[in-house]
Amino acid sequence: MTATLEPPVAATPIMVPRVTFEPRDAEPEPIATGELAIEVRDFSFWYGQVQALQHVSLTVPRRAVTALIGPSGCGKSTFLRSINRMNDLISGTRVEGEIVVEGASVYGSEIDLVAHRQRVGMVFQRPNPFPKSIYDNVAYGPALNALCSRRDLPDLVEQCLRRAALWDEVRDRLDAPATGLSGGQQQRLCIARALGNQPTVLLMDEPCSALDPIATQRVEELIFELKRDYTIVIVTHNMQQAARVSDFTGFFDRGGLLVELGGTNQIFTNPKHERTEAYITGRFG
């Protein structure tokens, strides 16, 4: 059974994607010893009777990009959505263990969910701008959470759109409906909308999977820019993308197990675990 999953030897050169990867000069330590934005301890998650995550423990360093990769159904999206408790929407879910974001226990009884979600922004798989104007999309979060005065709101919106590399494209039509933008522009608008809340952590759930290669490249460049100020956790299906944008990479395997977490360079060139190696060389997934 397992043997049949292995591709024939002759096909290997074709099937293995070549992960082009330039070694970086200053590779961060695999598990940063310094400032941690997120600490996860022994976290398990159930959808009803089905266990989606098993005893996941990991740390996410501040102001760096941590990519989570793994085959479909491995629980990486579930994990990401556990960080800002988006899974609360689904009935019949249950958690064990602890997730601590910037010192606050996310599943603790004292958490203020509204404030927590304001600090932890999220970008989704498909661009999902509100059917409102471009301006309102960015302004709604900060206006709701009273993060800045009404007078400063236009400046904040401009700043967020600039940071999301969208300002030059939309500056003349801020009142136009956001749904009229292209897919890539909509996704950058969603990033700007998340930035409007002035978060410290950005969660990205396969943010480029619905975008064409050029739009993908723009979003990746943006991620690279944003990590100077934000802690970014990105779930991606695309290993090359993980290799390009992230500083740290975690590999989830089927059954919701975190197999390995380390510096991206190390994971892609010298993985410690054979399942990781099998996945990144394209032998399953």
């Binding site: 929407l89 999902n128 059917p131 749904t179």
Partner: protein, 269 residues
């Protein structure tokens, strides 16, 4: 197969065309500016109008909409946003039963609730009956439209720190609003033509009245009264009033279409 379907469409549309056609042929002759601006004249004279009934219909249906639309929309929003809750299940069940209830029964309900204790007929009782008829229709159409709002929008709002209720009101409801307005206008148009509950509540009034605590004339009732009357002039009058009633419903339906079209135009624009 296509031929059969075309045949079915023709069979469905023919009665409509006959009704509209005969209304226009028989009623249009009596339509004049006076018909909209004057009061009826005594039997035997020609001329006169149904101003009292037009105003009465607008008042009764307007008050019914003020009561019925918010309740229907709120119930529909709750049923769609919390589909599993007991309240939602009950409301859905009751709405489905209510949708099939004969309107005369609703008329009796309003009669026992308002008319009997007060010991006089009133326009308000008519509005109440129409509102009761309206609520289940609006609730069900609102629920269906809210369900169409993609879940990704809810997630986006919640992820920005919106509370659940605020997400429902300012994102979900706003997104579905054009469709909900359409559904509500269609429900209003539908009850505007109701006669049976009004016979037991608003009764009818041969004089001009804007007192919602007393009997008031309505267009469906004018049609009923004059069509069953003994005089040929009355019959003419009934035809014209029926045409006006159809026009009122038509205007509401067209407004509903426009509301929907703007939604799709906005999405593209």
């Amino acid at each position: 197969m296509v031929g059969l379907m075309i045949g079915a469409v023709i069979v469905a549309v023919l009665p409509l065309i006959f009704i509209l056609g005969s209304l226009i042929v028989r009623g249009a002759g009596s339509l004049s500016v006076a018909f909209f601006t004057r009061m009826p004249v005594p039997a035997g004279e020609t001329g006169g109008g149904v101003l009292h009934a037009i105003v009465g219909t607008l008042i009764i249906v307007g008050i019914a909409a003020l009561m019925g639309v918010p309740i229907g929309m709120g119930a529909g929003l709750h049923a769609a946003e919390y589909p599993g809750s007991k309240i939602s299940w009950t409301a859905r069940f009751v709405a489905d039963v209510m949708n099939g209830t004969p309107s005369i029964v609703v008329g009796v309900f309003a009669y026992t609730l308002v008319v009997a204790p007060q010991k006089h007929y009133s326009a308000f009782a008519g509005s109440l009956a129409l509102a009761v008829l309206m609520v289940p229709m609006i609730m069900r159409s609102t629920e269906e439209l809210i369900k169409l709002v993609p879940n990704s929008l809810r997630e986006a709002a919640l992820a920005l720190g919106y509370a659940r209720w605020r997400t429902s009101l300012s994102i979900v409801l706003r997104t579905a609003l054009p469709g909900i307005v359409t559904g509500s206008l269609l429900a209003i148009a539908r009850v505007a033509g109701e006669t049976a509950p009004l016979l037991l509540t608003a009764l009818g009034n041969q004089y001009f009245s804007v007192d919602i605590n007393g009997p008031m004339e309505t267009l469906p009732h004018v049609v009923y009264k004059y069509a069953t009357g003994p005089y040929e002039e009355w019959h003419q009058f009934a035809w014209a009033a029926a045409l006006v009633l159809i026009l009122v419903v038509l205007v509401l339906s067209i407004a509903a279409r426009i509301a929907t079209r703007q939604k799709f135009g906005g999405a593209r624009g």
